[in-house]
Symmetry: C2
Subunit: 305 residues, 2 copies
């Protein structure tokens, strides 16, 4: 996941990995490791495990630690990984972050505490600061996870500046999943030279790279990694806009369905591994009828591409 | 917390207790026990501990278990308690619920999983069903915690009916903190005879009791328990509307400030115990200037009452 420039440490196409589960809904960490290998071979520069797409918050902390620990054991280099460690409780986020570092995984994707709404920048700063100081490890690289549609809170520009001043080197990037291009563009313009701005959908990849982003972290890479990696490699080429249209068509097709269940359905169908369809509540697998509609929709997108 | 009728098991004025903290932000469970005693002596029929007001989600699971365990040890009857045990992960909710039952606390206030949005009734049903079945204890009494402004998800009428059919006796009530009277009224009308509908603010107490509610669970009882309990006792009396106006004026005054920090400020000022001001991030204590404004606002409310 090492970027081309000196400072940039996460760039390119980073897959937000799904977490496969057995039929008893225990995580299948071996299958996850296998999936990570496929994604890296398909051209992804890195993998976010246990993020939103990975259903992290539906697992206990013990489970999250066990899932992550299995990956280096299975030959996935810690340097290729970024792991979601944000929790509502600061002590929980600190615990998961320390654990990641103990495995050599230095990049963490940090959700702000996500139960209380309308909280102040001071409160969010305190949460992040207490987490970073409890971890107290110079190797730590924090990626701020902007996903207000799930968290109900937002890292403001002022808060990001304040965190950067307080923890230079530690605050390494922003994953922006807000889904609104003007907001993403503003983050790229303001922070692109100082932080790895990673856009949360390949829909914005070319535009974001042009505006200063380092790459994308995207759920759809679970099923479309090769095309998205090809788009990233072609940035600046005349062929790039056409590749962008093609991956955008795929993304649009998938997004009309519940995203995580739809991605798992596609992986299950392609791999023939039934248990890939399993999700934890409150998510549900796609009903058969909806899965058929997804299949038709993807075939249409492919025909157009 | 036993209600007057056969079925009703939680009624009257139930305080949603604040969680006091030492200066290192560890919970001060002895001070919490003392606070619970005061609230019960002031006329509260019961106490919700570790709910939204109690900053439950800012504590680790181990901390939540230790806080709760200290209360029966300190002479607070388990029958007077209801405890918040809802988590994003079903296994965590089941663990906390089992622990509560092991202490004799049978009533739990269950948040739905609160990270994913736009989830289906099927997904929420599965989350609740898996929690209840993992606990597998006939003593369990579940109160569904409706607080969409924090969780982003809602228990629909259809979902509540389905849960009631699947787990009669176990599904015991709803705490409705949505803050919208028409929605509360609809829940009272539909479920008031079958469930303990507990309204999340004393602002609606008289109206809700008239519509079929069993009582209220309210944060402001931390600082205004006597008046709210007097209002509940006077329900049906000619004096009741005037008492309602008075408690509503207090509630309105407090609600113009960040609620939890404001309540802790008031308790700290009255008790002279400085550490009552402590909150965990992402919350912040009230700045001194704001605390003075709160004081003035409460004096005005009192003068009007």
């Amino acid at each position: 996941m090492t970027g081309p420039a000196g400072r940039s440490s996460a760039s390119g196409v980073i897959a937000a990995a799904l977490t496969p589960m057995r039929d008893d809904l225990a995580a299948d960490a071996d299958l996850l490791a296998e999936h990570c290998r496929l994604l890296l071979n398909a051209g992804c520069s890195g993998i976010v495990v246990l993020g939103t797409t990975g259903e992290a918050n539906s697992f206990t902390l013990d489970e999250r630690e066990r899932i992550l620990a299995r990956l280096p054991d299975s030959g996935i280099a810690p340097a290729a990984l970024m792991v979601g460690t944000g929790c509502c409780a600061v002590s929980d986020a600190a615990r998961l972050t320390k654990h990641a570092l103990s495995l050599g995984v230095e990049r963490v994707l940090l959700l702000p505490p996500f139960y209380y709404r309308g909280v102040s920048d001071d409160g969010l700063f305190a949460a992040l600061a207490q987490t970073i100081e409890a971890v107290a490890d110079p190797r730590l690289r924090v990626y701020l996870y902007q996903i207000p549609q799930n968290t109900g809170v937002e890292f403001s520009v002022e808060l990001i500046e304040r965190l950067l001043r307080a923890y230079p080197g530690v605050i390494a990037g922003i994953k922006d999943s807000c889904g609104e291009w003007p907001a993403t563009q503003a983050l790229c313009a303001r922070f692109g030279e100082r932080l790895d701005v990673l856009v949360g959908s390949e829909r914005f990849l070319l535009r974001a790279l042009g505006a200063g982003a380092a790459g994308c972290v995207t759920a759809s890479a679970n099923v479309n990694a090769t095309a998205i990696a090809k788009l990233y490699a072609a940035r600046g080429d005349p062929a790039a806009p056409e590749l962008q249209s093609s991956v955008t068509a795929w993304r649009s097709a998938i997004e009309t369905f519940p995203l995580i269940a739809a991605l798992k359905e596609i992986v299950a169908r392609r791999s023939g591994i039934e248990r890939w369809r399993n999700v934890r509540p409150p998510l549900c697998p796609l009903p058969a009828r909806v899965a058929q509609a997804l299949d038709r929709r993807l075939q249409q997108a492919q025909a157009k591409a």
